[in-house]
Each structure stands twice: as structure tokens, then as C-alpha cells.
């Protein structure tokens, strides 16, 4: 009887440990999507984001910092776990079209494993507020929250 109890305890401990390990393997990270427009106003942008689909899933897409790009950009839900997502948005508001470095979106990811995945982005196209095609660059950086509940966020390149 005592032997059976010991075996049961060992099995329970093993199960708990395995569950803990599985839980510890999933981390959530947010990524800022920033574009650099130089002296041009940003009227529209379209960027592609590539990520390893075996370990990364996008669990949320939110808008950017300037009011004109505050709404979540357009994307295809199929892109949330396919390894590639296209984000795009535009504004026709001439008065508040941003320029320079603009955080246009933020994506939230769940990542399996401890390694930081290779997530990259490239510009598909962009236009200024007058509809003229412009050249911009895109940059992805991990968003770090300083404290839980603190609205101020720190971004780490």
C-alpha cells in the first residue's frame, strides 16, 4: 500500500513539473512597427512582417501613436499564424498627417520557447498625403513595459 502511494506521488510530481515546463515555454512579447518617412508626410503605408510560424503566433494587432494611425491597421486574419502578415493603413487627413519616425502599429505575439525569434519587416509601398509614392523604411523593435499597470512603455531595439 505504501509503495503504491509513493508511485502515485512520484507520478503526480512529474505531471506537475511537465505542466510547469510547458507553461514556462510560452512568452508574450509586443513589437513596435515604426516607419521613417524623412521629410515626407505619411499618407499611406503597407508593410510585410515575417516570423517563424512554428514558434510565433500573432495574438493582436493594434494601431500606432499618431491620432491618424491610432486605429488598428488592416490585415488578413490568416496572417496571424501563417508566418507572414501584411499591415496597411492610410489617412486622408492632410492637417494631421505625420512625418519623420512614426510608430504606425504594434503587434502582440506569443512565442514558444526561450529563444528570441527572428521577426523582420519590409516595406511594400507607401505614399505621401497627396498620394505620391514615397520611399520609407520600416523598423521592428520589441516593446518593453517598465512596470505592470504603468502606461508608459519603454521600447528596446
Amino acid at each position: 500500500m505504501r509503495g503504491i502511494l509513493v508511485i502515485a506521488l512520484v507520478l503526480a510530481a512529474g505531471t506537475l513539473s511537465a505542466a510547469e515546463n510547458t507553461e514556462a515555454k510560452t512568452v508574450f512579447k509586443a513589437w513596435d512597427v515604426r516607419v521613417e518617412t524623412g521629410d515626407e508626410t505619411l499618407g499611406a503605408y503597407q508593410v510585410e512582417i515575417f516570423y517563424p510560424k512554428t514558434t510565433v503566433k500573432i495574438v493582436g494587432v493594434e494601431g500606432g501613436e499618431p491620432e491618424t494611425f491610432r486605429d488598428a491597421p488592416r490585415y488578413d486574419p490568416k496572417g496571424l499564424k501563417g508566418g507572414r502578415i501584411i499591415l496597411a493603413a492610410f489617412t486622408t487627413d492632410k492637417k494631421s498627417a505625420p512625418k519623420g519616425t512614426v510608430r504606425v502599429a504594434r503587434i502582440h505575439t506569443s512565442i514558444e520557447g526561450k529563444d528570441t525569434p527572428e521577426i523582420s519587416a519590409k516595406v511594400t509601398t507607401a505614399g505621401n498625403i497627396d498620394g505620391k509614392k514615397i520611399t520609407i523604411t520600416v523598423r521592428l523593435s520589441e516593446t518593453k513595459r517598465e512596470k505592470k499597470g504603468n502606461k508608459n512603455e519603454k521600447t528596446e531595439e
Binding site: 488592416r74 488578413d76 490568416k78 496597411a88 498620394g131
Partner: protein
């Protein structure tokens, strides 16, 4: 443009030179042995004939060049036409508003700007076929722009 034909004397000039040389040779005939005289005259005739043939050769070369160019043009034409036939014609995509060859957010942006300006909108922009061009059509274009199933965007 200079070519070998331009550098050759024309046949009239050649004949004139030959005539002068023959006249001079006739004047000196009594002082020159007849064999030498015949040899010189034969040489002059031969040389005159070869010079007179030169422009004809140049014309022939020119014709060959033209024929080669025409053949090359025909070959390029055939190649282009056959190439077009091989690749299936790409149907125009209604959502490609700016005719850039791809549907992207700039197409939706262009539509939205035109809508805002209340400018004239082509009927072909009524993508959802509801009888009017409006924000719903812009949404369709934007949706297509970000679709990940398609390639090349």
C-alpha cells in the same frame, strides 16, 4: 558616312583615266616595244575593270546588310509574338485602381482621396456592384491589398 564605295572613283572617272593613259601610250607606241605596250594596256584594262566593279560590290554588301537587318527584325517580331502567345494574357484586376500591376494600399488610398474630393469616379470602381462607389468599395480594395494568400505583395 564614309564607306568603301565612297572612296572609289566612279566609272566615268575611271574611263577618263584609262582613255588618257591609252592616248599617251599610243603617242609613245613607236618608242616602246609592242610586248611592253600590250602588257601595259592589259594591265590598265584589268585595273579599270576591277575599279569599275568596286561600287557594285559595295552595293551588294549594302543589300546584304539590309536583308540581314530585315531578317533580324522579322525574327524579333516572331519571337515577341510567340512569347506573348506562350504567356497567358493577364486579365486586368478591377482593384488595381492606379494600374500599377499590383493591388496595394495605394489603390485604396487613391479611391478614398477621390471620394473625399467628391471627384468623378469611374463606374468600374463599384466593386461590390451596389450601384455606387463608396467606402465599402474602398474597404474591398484594402482587404485585397493585405490578403496573404496572394503573392507578390
Amino acid at each position: 558616312m564614309n564607306n568603301s564605295a565612297d572612296n572609289q572613283p566612279d566609272s566615268a572617272e575611271t574611263e577618263r583615266i584609262a582613255r588618257i593613259l591609252k592616248e599617251r601610250a599610243a603617242r609613245l607606241a613607236d618608242r616602246i616595244p609592242p610586248e611592253a605596250d600590250r602588257a601595259v594596256l592589259a594591265f590598265i584594262d584589268d585595273r579599270a575593270r576591277s575599279i569599275a566593279r568596286a561600287p557594285r560590290r559595295a552595293r551588294t554588301v549594302r543589300w546584304v546588310a539590309w536583308a540581314a537587318a530585315a531578317a533580324l527584325a522579322a525574327a524579333v517580331g516572331v519571337w515577341t509574338i510567340s512569347g506573348t502567345r506562350r504567356s497567358p494574357a493577364v486579365p486586368p484586376v478591377a482593384e488595381d485602381i492606379d494600374h500599377s500591376g499590383t493591388v496595394d494600399i495605394l489603390d485604396a488610398f487613391l479611391m478614398a482621396r477621390r471620394l473625399e474630393l467628391d471627384a468623378e469616379k469611374p463606374a468600374s470602381w463599384d466593386l461590390n456592384r451596389d450601384g455606387r462607389v463608396d467606402g465599402a468599395d474602398v474597404d474591398l480594395v484594402a482587404q485585397k491589398a493585405v490578403a496573404v494568400t496572394k503573392e507578390g505583395t
